[in-house]
Symmetry: C2
Subunit: 210 residues, 2 copies
């Protein structure tokens, strides 16, 4: 069996075990056994428990980003439809690949500096992707000028942070409301933020002193 | 020196050390030394490294929730002003007590089940507080009936998750944009979500098919 295939099999099992047990409690012994491969072979292929976890993190992050990008790109030119498609792909991914999401979402920055750095890289990639879409949305509504002067790259980055944080957090809400489809979560979120963004672009501004 | 005072001193130091080093790399030896107290005494008061971390987590979470509640309650009756005041207090807390925020925000669910449970409790308390404010906001705009039938407790919980997730994530944006005051971050976020919520309540709904 080619090394490439073997590695993917080990990573498949490792994602499941890390998601179920958490990084510290997960054991390479168990992963090796479930993958039907010797422990030295796991170390040969993926170096260490940390290396194994990094491989899981990178593969699942790449899948998630690809799902978002492909959906957004396939949704035509309108930025709101592209954002909607991207978010729908995100929530569908989380619903379908629970273990992948647990590995990406719940294994914070603690285990090691390399893992913390990999998590930060992933988040930056997602943020840049979303900020790009938001910037297009702003340019689309404003024609890239006039009212657009009020909202630029810094604002797009702000909106992207708010949006990504909201989407992260809503995966918990989705878990507690299993009757809600990924699509309905997406439309709700679009309504919260897109209507608000459009309102702001149309000059509707909330200020604490009225 | 009374035990109560002593404990608070140890926790002061521990928050700093956990924030700087992370849970796993932090050592009770260093905490004891910096607090000017013997290591056995630290164990006597706070039981274990885990107990010490839980004490940090609980104290800082209580402070953050209290800051949010007090600000929201002191801001009069209007739900948007209460939400604004609460969010402003949140961002001001994060800016002023960086170490507390790192302990609350970055030390995810990994170290142990007890810590994961304590983090989840904190998040639930914050969520309930925000959901209450949002529900008041909905009732205020709708008079508790009519259009309000469209948005109920489930929606308030949805908005609270989105809002708390957005605020969490925006603390990273704030860190990278040190020229932005907590107040300006708050007003931006209010504009994104409050204008959107009001738009939805006024019947402006975004749908993927136009």
């Amino acid at each position: 069996m080619p090394r490439q295939v073997r590695e993917q099999q080990i990573i498949d099992v490792a994602v499941r075990v890390f998601a179920q047990r958490g990084y510290h409690a997960a054991s390479v012994d168990e992963i090796a056994e479930l993958a039907g491969i010797s422990k030295p072979m796991v170390y040969l292929y993926l170096d260490s428990k940390e290396g194994l976890f990094l491989a899981c993190l990178r593969r699942e992050a790449a899948r998630l980003v690809a799902a978002f990008q492909e959906a957004a790109r396939g949704a035509g030119a309108a930025p709101d439809l592209r954002l909607h498609a991207g978010l729908a792909a995100f929530f569908a991914f989380v619903a379908a690949y629970r273990d992948s999401w647990v590995v990406l979402h719940r294994q914070a920055s603690e285990p090691s500096e390399r893992i913390a750095a990999a998590v930060a890289d992933t988040r930056r990639a997602v943020m840049a992707e979303v900020a790009g879409l938001v910037k297009d949305g702003i340019d689309d509504v404003t024609g890239g000028e006039g009212r657009g002067a009020r909202l630029g790259a810094e604002d797009a980055d702000f909106v992207a942070h708010a949006l990504v944080g909201a989407a992260d957090s809503l995966t918990d809400w989705m878990e507690r409301n299993p009757g809600q489809s990924p699509e309905s979560v997406t439309v709700r979120l679009m309504n919260m933020v897109w209507v608000g963004m459009r309102g702001v672009l149309d000059g509707e501004v909330w200020l604490p002193d009225g």
